[in-house]
């Protein structure tokens, strides 16, 4: 006697199984990305964290795989602490300057530019992102050099003394723009600015015109509307942009090596402590610093309601 149905193939049985247990299919589909995230991302971070709790033997320079906080204490010795303070100060300054420059640009693009101008704006902001980061940094080195175009132009218009006075400012000044913190700062702001403009513009575009009209109807002038309506509504974009500029500056190790006074930033410290130096624990502890700073930063941003609109 023959069966009423033809024999089922493996594929049919699998389909049936998925139909009976839909969660199984979901689990199978989500497993690869979860593994990627869990093993490659979180796993390597965990390994990093683990290393930072080891220490290096003072005499032999061999890593001792025993848990201790000694390495973290080393972060507090003046020369290492300097590196952290220097990096965080630079990141904060770069972020504030980026906000100040990006806001008018983003505001104009979001609320006033129309049609072709909008396209021009997008192109203008994105264009620098398409060329290599290194090319831009090397170009800036030439622009800021002692015998570069800025010095030349300043002397040409008789502002050589002004440039000299700026460079004479202690700490942030230096022998030339390209060997001072001012130079490092300028290049950081230039390189990361698009990452501030784009999210800011997206959030400004979402501020409804009706709210601005309502504000005007209630008698608020421009500044009042800006402070009480536009800024709070655009804040998520500002915070999102600042996360980019802040964390990118915290981690960068190429710009301060090419432009500036050679004083180390966190990324450079990590780079030189691994390898021949073999001081992996201290390198790992240094690498944990930006992570902690960003976590604190995100917590504060959340408190301020930056993610409420998400």
């Amino acid at each position: 006697m023959e069966s009423a149905h033809p024999a089922r193939g493996a594929f049919d049985r699998m389909t049936a199984l998925f139909w009976r247990r839909p969660k199984l299919l979901t689990a199978l589909l989500i497993a690869p990305p979860l593994l990627w995230l869990g093993v490659v991302y979180v796993g390597s971070l965990a390994a990093l964290l683990l290393q930072s709790f080891y220490s290096i033997d003072e005499f032999s320079g061999i890593v001792v795989p025993e848990f201790t906080l000694k390495t973290y204490a080393e972060l507090l010795i003046p020369s290492n602490y300097d590196v952290i303070v220097r990096t965080v100060t630079m990141a904060a300054a770069v972020t504030l300057a980026s906000v100040a420059i990006a806001f008018p640009v983003a505001f104009f693009a979001a609320r006033h530019a129309k049609g072709r101008w909008k396209a021009v704006f997008y192109l203008g902001v994105m264009l620098p992102l398409w060329s290599s980061y290194l090319v831009k940094v090397y170009a800036w080195k030439l622009i800021l050099a002692k015998e570069g175009i800025i010095t030349w132009a300043a002397e040409g218009i008789g502002a050589g003394n002004v440039l000299g006075a700026v460079l004479a400012i202690p700490v942030i000044g230096g022998n030339s723009l390209s060997t001072s913190y001012i130079g490092t700062f300028l290049v950081f702001v230039y390189v990361w600015l698009p990452y501030m403009i784009l999210p800011m513009q997206a959030s400004l575009e979402r501020v409804p015109t009706s709210m601005l009209e309502a504000s005007a109807d209630l008698g608020a002038r421009g500044w009042r509307t800006f402070r009480s309506v536009i800024l709070p509504l655009a804040l998520p974009g500002v915070i999102a942009g600042s996360i980019f500029t802040f964390s990118l500056t915290l981690g960068d190790y190429i710009i301060p090596q090419i432009i500036g006074s050679s004083r180390f930033f966190i990324g450079q410290a990590v780079y030189s402590l691994q390898g021949t130096a073999g001081n992996i624990p201290l390198a790992a502890a240094f690498a944990v610093v930006p992570i902690v700073i960003m976590l604190v930063y995100l917590a504060v941003a959340r408190k301020m309601g930056a993610f409420d609109a998400l």
Binding site: F59, A145, E147, T179, Q257, A269, A277, G278
Partner: protein, 384 residues
């Protein structure tokens, strides 16, 4: 700790003995290829510049195809050799002993390399590739870290490294502040130590790579003074060249590579080795302990010593051949004058780069190890 040290040393010795037992005694038939880890620009087959080719003839004669993997740092080289899959590496002095201690390279049977006799006698038993009488490789190239200077500012070559270490008026009457540079790597501490060898003999420094606490502290102090003079430390050869052209830098420790390139561009640049001597680098062709193509590897090592390689590479890289005859016998483009310009005549004044370790000739744990050079030099550059 001592116990751990002893056991690691013992392990390294066991590894060395195992490798020694495997040393080749006769060449087989060439395996058809050889895989080499090398510095950029070290192995040229005429693709960058048709005039510089020391590979194609070897491939035709031996039947061994040469595959090159370039590495930019010593750490990268050690990592690649640890991974395996390569036959040879052009290791510098800060990598070679690590490779030997780690058991990643094997001793070389010099009887299988006919041109060994032509190697500079001063390099044959050099401590960066010779351990317990066994040769872990053949010398490749070496060179000094010279003092590069601007000939407009210095009509006569500076005679002392003091121009980059201590504030003074240069021959053009202006201070050297902001006009000199130094290398941003911690190995620069050795340059300071070498300067002190000549100027503060009471410190008793015998090798700039073996410093006890007092000697080390004195070197760091000298470097703190140097920080006041240096606007930016150099790291990348091309950025340094740019700084000499656009940043008003007139004197710095450097490599013949930059000097030759700048001079070729017509810049007023020359170099010298001052009276205190100089630090330098020396590279060795080392063979992986599990090299898959040993016969081709030996043939390549012989080729590095006997062909036009030593002579032409010396011109290409601004380095000095390990085979002195390559300077004079016309096998390539180099001549005696060129070799002397690259530093051949100054061999005795050069201390070659080695990684500082705690256990040195001054005793067990008597010297400051390299990892502290790294963290302290970060402090010095940061103004601490």
């Amino acid at each position: 700790m001592t116990k751990l040290l002893i056991s690691t040393t013992a392990m390294a010795m066991v590894a060395a003995n195992v490798a020694a037992a495997d040393m080749m005694t006769a060449l087989g038939t060439p395996e058809g290829q050889v895989d080499i880890v090398a510095w950029p620009g070290y192995i040229e087959r005429g693709e960058t510049d048709p005039a510089f080719d020391w590979v194609t003839k070897f491939e035709a004669a031996s039947g061994c195809k040469v595959n090159v993997k370039t590495a930019n740092t010593s750490d990268e080289m050690v990592a690649l050799m640890n991974e395996g899959g390569f036959d040879l590496v052009t290791a510098s002095g800060d990598a070679s002993l690590r490779l030997v201690a780690g058991g990643r390279v094997q001793p070389i049977n010099i009887d299988l390399i006919p041109s060994w006799a032509s190697v500079d006698d001063r390099l044959k038993d050099a401590p960066w590739h010779t351990v317990d009488g066994a040769h872990y490789g053949t010398p490749y190239m070496w060179g000094p870290n010279v003092l590069m200077y601007n000939t407009t500012v210095f009509p006569e070559p500076p005679t002392s490294w003091s121009v980059v270490f201590e504030e003074q008026a240069l021959p053009d009457g202006q201070s050297n502040k902001g006009r000199v540079q130094a290398y941003d790597g911690p190995i620069h501490v050795a340059d300071a130590a070498q300067y002190l060898m000549a100027h503060k003999p009471e410190l008793g420094i015998t090798s700039p790579y073996e410093l006890n606490e007092d000697q080390y502290a004195a070197a760091l102090n000298l470097l703190r003074g140097q920080r006041e003079l240096v606007s930016r430390y150099w790291h990348d050869a091309f950025i340094q060249m740019d700084d000499f052209k656009n940043e008003g830098v007139v004197a710095s420790g450097s490599w013949p590579f930059q000097v030759n390139l700048l001079a070729a561009e017509g810049q007023p640049i020359a170099s010298t080795i001052p009276s205190e001597g100089a630090t330098g680098w020396a590279d060795t062709t080392m063979m992986h302990v599990n090299a898959a193509h040993p016969t081709c590897s030996y043939l390549w090592m012989e080729h590095t010593l006997s062909s036009n390689l030593q002579s032409d590479l010396s011109v290409w890289f601004g380095a000095v051949p390990s085979v002195p005859a390559a300077c004079t016998d016309g096998r390539g483009m180099q001549n005696q004058e060129g070799c002397d310009a690259n530093g051949l005549a100054d061999f005795e004044k050069i201390h070659f780069w080695t990684t500082p370790v705690a256990n040195c000739s001054q005793g067990e744990g008597a010297c400051v190890p390299y990892y502290r050079w790294v963290s302290d030099y970060i402090g010095v550059i940061g103004g601490r």
